[in-house]
Symmetry: C2
Subunit: 219 residues, 2 copies
DNA sequence: CCCTTTAGATTATGACCGTACTACCATAAG
DNA sequence: CTTATGGTAGTACGGTCATAATCTAAAGGG
C-alpha cells in the first residue's frame, strides 16, 4: 500500500529540521530561503509544505529541536557548580563564537526571533524554560522561581557576550570580552539569593567595594 | 549652476539615515527593502544609489549614526556611578524593551550585524568603542584598557538581557528578567579591578559566598 | 506475477519583492 | 539659455513564499 516505511515521513521531517537548524544559524531566518533549506536536506522546495505549515513553523520546530539538544547535552555534562562553570566556559569559548552554525540558536537568532509571530515566540519561550529549569533545579532546589530568573539572566549575559564578540572586528578585543564575560557570569552565579534580597531591590547587592565611584564634577 | 543649496544632499542623506534607523530596528536588516527605506524618507528607490554605494553601506551609516546619538545622550546624562546606574535602569526598562525602533541598535540588530560584511562590522566596532570608551574613561581614568573590556562586557550583558526579554512570551517573566539584569549589571560594575586580578583569572573573583554549591551526587 | 493504490517527492507556476542600475526630467543658478 | 543637480520612473534579473499538477516507486490484492 505505502511505498515508504511508517516513520519515513517523520524521519525526513527530522532531517529537514536538523539541516535547517544549521542553515538558519549561519544565514539567519530572513537570509535562508525555503528552497535552500530543502536543498540542504536533499529535497526540493515543493515537498516543504507537506511537512510544515509555513516557514515560521519550521523555524519554531528547528529552534525547539536545538534547544532540546542543548538541554540533553547540558544534563549529561553539568552537575554541581563545577559543571556549571564548565558550561559557561564552553559557551563563551572562541570555538563557539567562531562556529555559530553548530552553536546556540539564541546567540545566532535571538533578535530575529524577537520579530517573529507569537506562536514562534511561545515555542521559543517554552523550549528555553525547559532548558533553564533543568539548571535552576540543580542550582537551588529549595527556591525554583528565583533560581529560574537568575539562571535566565545568566543565559542572557552569555548570549549578549557571544553576540558582541562575534560582531567586533577586533579579534583581540573579542577574545578579551569572552574572558570578561566568563568572569561576570561566575560572579553573578556566586552571589547568593540573600544578597539579592538584601541589597539589590534598591542598591548594590552585597558587593561592597566602591573604588570605582569617581563622582565627576557635575555640570 | 546648482538647483539646490550646497548642503541639500547632505541633509537628505541624513534624513534617509535617520528614518532608515527606525525601520531597520523595527523590521530587521533583511526585513527592510531599499524601496521601503526610501519611501520612509519621502523618496523613491532610484535615488538611493546616489547617496549610498549599497544597502549595507546605509546599514553601516545608520548604525553608526544611532550609536553616536546614544553616545551624546549618554555623555549628557551620565556622570559618576549614579549616572551609570541610571543609564542601566533606562536601558533595561520595559519602555526600551517595548520600543525597539526607538532604542539601541545593538539590541535590535546585533546578530544580523554579525552576518554583515567586514566593513560594516568595522564601522559597528568603531562606533561602539567610541561610545564605550567615553564611559570607560569616566569609570577608571587610571586604567583605560581594562575599563574598556569591563564596560563592553556590561554592555553585552544589557544587550542580551533586553533581547531575551523581548523574545519571551511570558510578560511577567520578561519583566523579572529586566530587574534581575539591572542587579547583575550593578554587581558587575561594583566589582573592583583588584577583585578581577586576584580571583578571576582562575576562579570566583572576590565574591566569597558559596551557598549555591550543591555538589550533586556525581554520576 | 501483474496491476492498482498511494505516500511522498518533483517540477512547474503564481504573484510578488529583492537589489542594483539606467534613462529621463524638472528646475534653478550662472 | 545652457548646465548641472537631485530626483523620478522604469527595467533587469533573480529570489521569495506558497500552491497545484504531475510523476515515481514500492506495498498489497487478486
Amino acid at each position: 500500500m505505502a511505498r515508504y516505511a511508517k516513520e519515513h515521513k517523520q524521519v525526513t521531517r527530522q532531517r529537514i529540521i536538523e539541516t535547517a537548524g544549521r542553515r538558519l544559524k549561519r544565514d539567519g531566518i530572513d537570509g535562508s530561503g525555503v528552497a535552500t533549506l530543502m536543498k540542504d536536506a536533499g529535497l526540493t522546495n515543493g515537498a516543504f509544505y507537506a511537512h510544515f505549515a509555513s516557514k515560521e513553523d519550521l523555524v519554531a520546530a528547528a529552534v525547539s529541536d536545538q534547544l532540546r539538544d542543548q538541554r540533553e547535552w547540558l544534563a549529561s555534562i553539568v552537575s554541581g557548580r563545577a559543571g556549571l562553570e564548565q558550561m559557561v566556559r564552553t559557551y563563551l569559548s572562541p570555538e563557539h563564537r567562531d562556529n555559530p552554525e553548530a552553536g546556540c540558536p539564541s546567540a545566532a537568532l535571538l533578535d530575529e526571533i524577537t520579530r517573529c509571530a507569537d506562536p514562534t515566540k511561545q515555542a521559543y519561550t517554552d523550549s528555553v524554560l525547559a532548558f533553564i529549569d533543568d539548571i535552576a533545579a540543580g542550582l537551588a532546589p529549595h527556591d525554583p522561581p528565583s533560581a529560574r530568573t537568575k539562571t535566565l539572566s545568566v543565559y542572557a549575559l552569555m548570549i549578549g557576550t557571544l553576540q558582541l564578540s562575534r560582531a567586533l572586528a577586533d579579534r583581540q578585543l573579542a577574545d578579551d570580552l569572552l574572558e570578561q564575560g566568563i568572569c561576570n557570569a561566575l560572579v553573578v552565579l556566586d552571589v547568593t539569593q540573600q544578597d539579592w534580597a538584601a541589597g539589590c531591590s534598591d542598591r548594590t547587592a552585597g558587593v561592597e567595594h566602591a573604588q570605582l565611584r569617581h563622582e565627576r564634577p557635575d555640570t
